[in-house]
């Protein structure tokens, strides 16, 4: 049915897919698994005509296809039910299903026919929804039904689902699985991407493993154990550069205590302690709410319950301003939207956390800011330390160093890194690891949220594994393996 032959795809600096070849049979439910960055999304994007330039070939029903656009793929019968569902809330269910292909009568949309067609499909899915319903009050699961109906409307032969259960209730998941089995019975091929191994073992026939852009094999679900599957997913050497180059330096002094912290309804009752000089890793899958926890500690989001203690004293932090005044700094995940200001130069970005320090004789001294920029620029090994250089024009890694420098300029001694090396090239990664080590060597304390397991394993003194808004396991650095972290992150027992 689908045959990938020697498919490779490169992005600047990374090989996202490397000579991937495999087949999927008609009417098969095939799971696609791998770590973040293994190449699953890239492969699906090629199949769906999102990435139009790649090496190798894709055949469907023995015929080579090379889609020029997502539209091409849809018209050929390749549909996707997306993580972020692509529907228009202002339109009705039927209008969404038929969007762009509405039946017409002359110049006008033939609404009778439109609803008739859409309802016929909804009936096929045994769905209570009606074409005339408004999209506004539908649950995540119902929205997914609409997406699936839309795929059927386009006479899809292949439907891919990327983390479809991430926001569904248990009931809705059950319903989704029934529908997927019906689709399969109708000869539709399903590609199913999920991090949740339970679902894979319950639902799919076969599972294909990708790792670092390479094809690792396809296995029948009945013939492989959970442990073996995880091993195939992560079985590479831990990257050599994410290792501690200095002696560990954590002490017994607790600098930050978090007790039953909650931000309803996102997460609830998170408790942990951070020690002076420690690098505390936060591991978990995308969506496990690690970012939400650290944002609440810093004051970026309001907590709804729980207590935060700084060096044993209870504090109330309800804004980043208060977070900073208690010595907490956050280097956020989204550099462009949250990390630096695109209209400012290096000197101004680096001074933003601590402008009062640059006041001389009552006024902000630009000379003092420039000096600060040059000093910190050297400390973080910024490639362009020119204070007047616009931060926006730097590479991702260097922008990250500017954001880090901004916090070094402040008095913060509890630094939270959220995905510190996201979108950062290999060389800069190593430098950022070195800088984090410098921080703890100076007696500061670090929380590091990361989805890159080698980074978590290589850098952390201790790791908290989160799953669905809860800390499910604490691991000491001596017990860290990728298999073990994934095991807990994927929601295995508590």
């Amino acid at each position: 049915m689908i045959r990938f032959s020697h498919v490779s795809k490169s992005f600047p600096g990374v090989k996202a897919l490397d000579d991937v070849s495999f087949e999927v049979a008609k009417g098969e439910v095939r799971a696609l698994v791998g770590e973040n960055g293994a190449g699953k999304s890239t492969l699906l994007n090629i199949l769906h005509g999102v990435h139009t330039e790649y090496e190798g070939s894709v055949e469907i029903d023995g015929q080579e296809v090379h889609f020029r656009s997502a539209q091409d793929a849809i018209e050929f019968g390749i549909a996707k039910v997306h993580q972020e569902i692509n529907l228009i809330p202002e339109l009705s269910v039927g209008q969404n299903i038929t969007l762009g292909y509405e039946p017409r009568r002359g110049l006008f949309i033939d609404y009778d026919k439109l609803h008739e067609q859409a309802n016929a499909i909804l009936d096929r899915l045994n769905c209570r929804l009606r074409s005339e319903d408004s999209l506004k009050n539908l649950s995540a699961g119902e929205l997914q039904m609409v997406s699936i109906a839309k795929a059927l409307f386009h006479k899809a032969k292949v439907i891919s689902l990327d983390e479809p259960t991430a926001s569904l209730s248990t009931q809705e998941v059950k319903r989704l699985f029934e529908i997927i089995r019906e689709l399969k019975a109708n000869g539709i091929t399903i590609l199913y991407v999920s991090h949740r191994l339970d679902e894979i073992f319950e639902l799919t026939d076969t599972v294909t493993v990708l790792r670092d852009g390479c094809y690792m094999g396809t296995y029948r679900v009945g013939e492989i154990t959970r442990e073996q599957l995880i091993k195939h997913m992560v079985g590479r050497d831990v990257s050599a550069f994410a290792v501690r180059k200095r002696p560990r330096c954590f002490t017994d002094e607790v600098v930050l205590g978090v007790k039953d912290l909650s931000v309803e309804p996102t997460f609830r009752n998170v408790s942990f302690k951070l020690r002076r000089g420690e690098i505390l890793g936060f591991a978990g899958l995308v969506g496990s709410k690690r970012t939400d926890v650290v944002r609440a500690i810093f004051g970026a989001d309001r907590k709804t319950g729980g207590e935060v203690y700084i060096r044993g004293h209870k504090v109330e932090i309800s804004s980043p301003e208060e977070g900073l005044s208690h010595g907490i700094g956050l280097i956020p995940e989204e550099r462009k939207t949250q990390g630096f200001v695109k209209t400012l130069n290096n000197a101004d970005n680096m001074a933003l956390t601590s402008l009062r320090k640059f006041i001389r004789r009552g006024f902000v001294s630009h000379a003092a800011k420039d000096e600060n920029c040059e000093k910190l620029g050297r400390a973080v090994n910024l490639n362009i330390t020119d204070p007047s250089y616009p931060t926006q024009k730097l590479s991702g890694g260097n922008q990250q160093k500017v954001v880090l420098a901004k916090w070094l300029a402040s008095d913060a001694d509890i630094l939270i890194f959220d995905e510190p090396t996201k979108g950062v090239d290999v060389g800069a990664k190593e430098e950022i690891y070195g800088l984090i080590e410098d921080l703890v060597a100076q007696g500061k304390s670090v929380i590091m949220v990361s989805s890159e397991l080698p980074e978590i394993i290589g850098m952390s003194d201790r790791v908290l594994v989160m799953s669905e808004g809860r800390i499910v396991k604490e691991l000491d650095h001596t017990e860290l393996t990728e298999e073990r972290i994934l095991y807990y992150a994927m929601g295995e027992q508590q």
Partner: protein, 322 residues
Amino acid sequence: MSKAKRRRGAFREMGIVIALAVLFAIFTALDLSFISIYNVLDIIKHSTINGLLAIGITFAILTGGNDLSIGSIFAVVIVVTGKILVAGVHSVLASLIGIAVGFLLGLVNGTLVAKLKLQPFVATLGAMSMYRGVAYVITGGWPVLKIPKEFRQMIEGTVFSYVPKSIFLLIGFAIICHIVLKYTPFGSYVYAMGGNEEATRLSGVNVDKHKILAYGMVGIGAALAGLVMLARLGTGEPTAGQGYELDAIAAAAIGGASLAGGKGTVIGSFLGAILLSTLKVGLIVTGVDTFYQYIATGIIIVLAAYFEYLQSKLYSKSLIAD
């Protein structure tokens, strides 16, 4: 020090100065008498009210917002100050009260934008109507007449027999605002939040507080402009200042302020106001029909926007070449 930034900022302001020089050359070619000290003073005098408004509104524009209510704040300040002057309050005290009223109305705008998270355009559109209504209510729709001479002398009197004192008010306000924006943490935060409000907030900056204050500065600019108007006319009209917000925005835009926020200077907005006045005075002096003023003003605004675009493209190129 900030070489590239200076180069860039200076480039922009040089651009307006060159445009001013070109306008002067054209008007002088059309009418030799144009280039005289009296005309230059006339132009500055003509630009005083718009200049004060433009400098004030620059604060809101820099935060990424705007303020459509300045014409109405202007009117409220005029009628309030007028009323208390007529009631016999001392000129200086009355002026200070007028400024305080403008500042407070600005703070109200800032609060609507920062705390209620309303879009600045909509919030100040509402404020525009509310404050205008307040101005009418205060006077019952009638103008405030017989503004005392002392007050008029204090603001509109001349020194050196021809230079109106209000010019110094404009220049003084410009200098103070320039210093505030460039050399205080508040000024830095105004620029930063206009470029990226969330990143600024996550740097531990109290964004709301500084945003409210920025709108307060807009109110002060409108109040000062109102005092000048009151002194000039000698009557306080509740209808005064309608449409002035657009001239002020135009001046700021010509001066290089980006309506997206984060970019712009006091000097730019000041020069923008001067440029608009030069155009108007020049067209009057050379006897061009007033209707053409609108066309000319529009062309200048569009040209300035295009110039801005070209300049940012050039700037990007120069960085890559580095």
